[in-house]
């Protein structure tokens, strides 16, 4: 039965290098594909910003400056918009990493570890899976 409330659905995928060039390409891909699939402005903003935070951490901590790649997937179906990021860096759950107290760090002018908190607030659900030699992050946001 067709979903008349949300007529558009679909999924798209892009493989990028795990560096700032890949960040640039990935950000545009996530924003554009979610917009095209009518995820809605709030979901598009939340998942694109979360992508930036996740990917910046992946470059810095996952691959630690070494070359690598990541596969980015976007999916819109029914009431949900979803972002998946898969990489083959060492086992590391970025989403589960809690940094030091942010308030003290911000006062000192150091703003590290803010990204993970941002992801958790912007997204309705965040999940990490280790599949074989891959890290897979799944972020969801209600369409709208």
């Amino acid at each position: 039965m067709p979903n008349n409330t949300y007529p558009t659905s679909g999924s798209k995928e892009l493989k990028v290098s795990a560096d700032v060039k890949g960040l640039d390409e990935g950000r545009d891909f996530v924003a554009q594909s979610l917009s095209e699939m009518e995820a809605g402005p709030e979901a598009t903003f939340s998942l694109t910003t979360s992508f930036l935070e996740l990917f910046e951490n992946l470059i810095r901590h996952g691959y630690g400056g070494e070359s690598g790649y990541a596969t980015i997937g976007t999916n819109v179906n029914g009431e949900a918009a979803m972002l998946t990021v898969t990489d083959v860096s060492g086992k590391f759950d970025i989403l589960g990493y809690d940094g030091p107290d942010q308030t003290a760090m911000i006062k000192a002018g150091i703003t590290g570890k803010m990204g993970i908190k941002t992801i958790k607030v912007l997204c309705d659900s965040v999940a990490y899976k280790r599949e074989g030699n891959m890290n897979k992050y799944i972020l969801k946001k209600k369409r709208g």
Binding site: V20, K21, L23, D24, R27, D28, A31, F45, T48, T49, L52, E53, E56, I59, Q102, T103, I106, K107, G109, I110, T111, G112, M114, G115, K117, T118, V121, L122
Partner: protein, 115 residues
């Protein structure tokens, strides 16, 4: 959607209008733009106009905090204006008002340097 910056002068402050996305791919570019604006204008009073900034990541916020701190040491500052509601939400969530001043309009931000 890469970042672009337009620089203008208003009442002794350098106003940098940001368009696009401020993230790890563009922090170096903005850092250079802020330094050049401060040098060219002879004033470390910087205002960022952010209504056309679509996305900003923590790498971008970090740059703004560090730039503000560096400019304050030269008796200046970096002040934010016209943030979108989405960016403002993250700004408050992170408690960044502790170290960055934010104004609803660009005019208010420029005027604040005269106070």
């Amino acid at each position: 959607m890469a970042l672009s910056v337009e620089v203008s002068m208003e009442n002794g402050a350098a106003v940098l209008k940001l368009v696009g996305s401020l993230d790890a791919s563009s922090t170096e570019y903005l850092s250079n733009a802020i330094s050049q604006a401060a040098q060219k204008t002879g004033t470390p009073r910087i205002v960022l106009s952010m209504d056309s900034l679509e996305f900003i990541s923590s790498a971008g916020w970090s740059l703004l905090v560090e730039s503000s701190k560096a400019l304050k040491e030269k008796n200046g500052d970096l002040r934010l204006s016209e943030m979108r509601e989405t960016a403002l939400r993250i700004f408050k969530l992170m408690g960044l008002e502790v170290c960055l001043k934010e104004y609803r309009t660009q005019i208010d931000a420029v005027k604040s340097y005269a106070e």
